[in-house]
Symmetry: C2
Amino acid sequence: MKKLINAVEDVVKESLAGFCSAHSDIVRLGEAAPFVLRRHLKRGKVALVSGGGSGHEPLHGGFVGEGMLDAAVPGQVFTSPTPDLIIAAIEAADTGGGVLLIVKNYEGDVMNFDMAREMSGKSVATVITDDDVAVETSTYSTGRRGVAGTLIVEKILGAAAEQGRSLAELKALGDRVNAATRSIGIALTSCTVPAAGKPTFELGDDEMEVGVGIHGEPGRRRVKLRPAKEIAAEMVGAITADLGARARGDVILLINGFGGTPLSELYLMYNDVRHGVEAAGGTVARSLVGNFVTSLDMAGCSATVSLLDEELRRLWDAPVHTAALRWGI
Amino acid sequence: MKKLINAVEDVVKESLAGFCSAHSDIVRLGEAAPFVLRRHLKRGKVALVSGGGSGHEPLHGGFVGEGMLDAAVPGQVFTSPTPDLIIAAIEAADTGGGVLLIVKNYEGDVMNFDMAREMSGKSVATVITDDDVAVETSTYSTGRRGVAGTLIVEKILGAAAEQGRSLAELKALGDRVNAATRSIGIALTSCTVPAAGKPTFELGDDEMEVGVGIHGEPGRRRVKLRPAKEIAAEMVGAITADLGARARGDVILLINGFGGTPLSELYLMYNDVRHGVEAAGGTVARSLVGNFVTSLDMAGCSATVSLLDEELRRLWDAPVHTAALRWGI
């Protein structure tokens, strides 16, 4: 295992310390516990709190700030944060407007966020994201997995929360965005969890995993590595088959790197995926390309298509000021 | 070789097409030749043109836009762009104020940009960047190499050019920023050039290269992989030894990933490098962490320290709107 770390048990703590120090104008480290808190909370606004296992950086801490999340709760690598940590974040982020939890659909996350919601004694609702079309159940999830589409839910809800919408309105909007969002990923290599010290799974030198999860969970099938155009066609096919006729409209197209793939390849994939989306009748109205929801050092990427209407486009375009997404401010 | 590509000979063209399509609000593909041109050129402003071999994305195309570059000229992977391509970019970017070329110190780049400058028949000056303290000469360079510090030169010059400064003033400012900027990199793995199909160099499973170049050129020495704190201490030591007493002031600290290292490790390195810079008497006034000047899929990172005064800080903070750096707009 070759990683830029000190001790395995300090990876999350030290990375978080670096993150909060580098972006001290936007975030601060929670006082009661190690979570990421928006530096300037807005009184009376519904607070948006997300989180989950570490190893997917910049998700979720990189999305804390004006126009997006109010707090992000990181667990250890690929491990759900504990309820007491989530409760500390809920208490720190709540400024009287209630709290909306945004949780990726993994059993540990759903259970721990749910316990925290019940134990907090506050007005708390939850949006579960499950945008991954690859498989219907998986190693850590019953039902579809929540993956890169989560950032689209977080961005749109963040903008709507800044407008002063109620907790019930935001919960309904989050469910609507999640239902309009589909993703699928492919891996060329495994990730290596620091505590494990070796690759999570083995892939042959000429193989790829189609439909891989963001923890290295198995996908639909393992095939020989193919040209980017063919990979893109399979990804677009899986997404548009699931969306059906709804795919023939304006969309956000997100090409998300898993951490070990260079930006040049992500833009090349964007080129091919975009052509596929357009050939299927979609119009790419907004684009995002980069490493946003990663799987440590895994090589590969995911494609996410999220359907837009006029309201969602305005919310997507609204100002955001976080470490990983920034525009209009 | 596992890469998300179609044909090896189309990698640069297709990645560039994806880039210009994803960011069509900021850039467009040159008409005369494949370079990246700022979509909204500013009449009479000195045009800033940079470029060099591909494989370092988002450098340089990701820095084209308001407040930074007017054009970026990509060569093939790790290969200088030809003079005719550079001339086409100069002609497209020039709006009457003259042109400043920003060139990393590699023999091929310096020669080709210089030929283009002479042949263009326009008012053109050049700033050469050579911020890498690792070695005094290298595989492709006489004198120090230009590496990640180049983006700091480009950002500060971009802001100054927007203010309407003259070509001579910008040339002097660029030389001053370059002289105030030092970098050093380390690699945990080699990069793999698509056309070569195999790693550029071999590193043992427990080895790292200290002082590596952004094309995988040899550094100072090859050592056993060490904890992040020790790596950070060596990097800070190399930089501060070179800066001398000047290191005891306000600085920009840039931790730059080489493409294959996840953001979580970059923030962990930032944490340790920052402590080192502060222990040496420096004050980290501005920070930047991410993949900005990469070496394809190489795992590793560089640290850059750039000395700030009041003028440089204002120029750094000025609005910028590019694909890879954006704030204030």
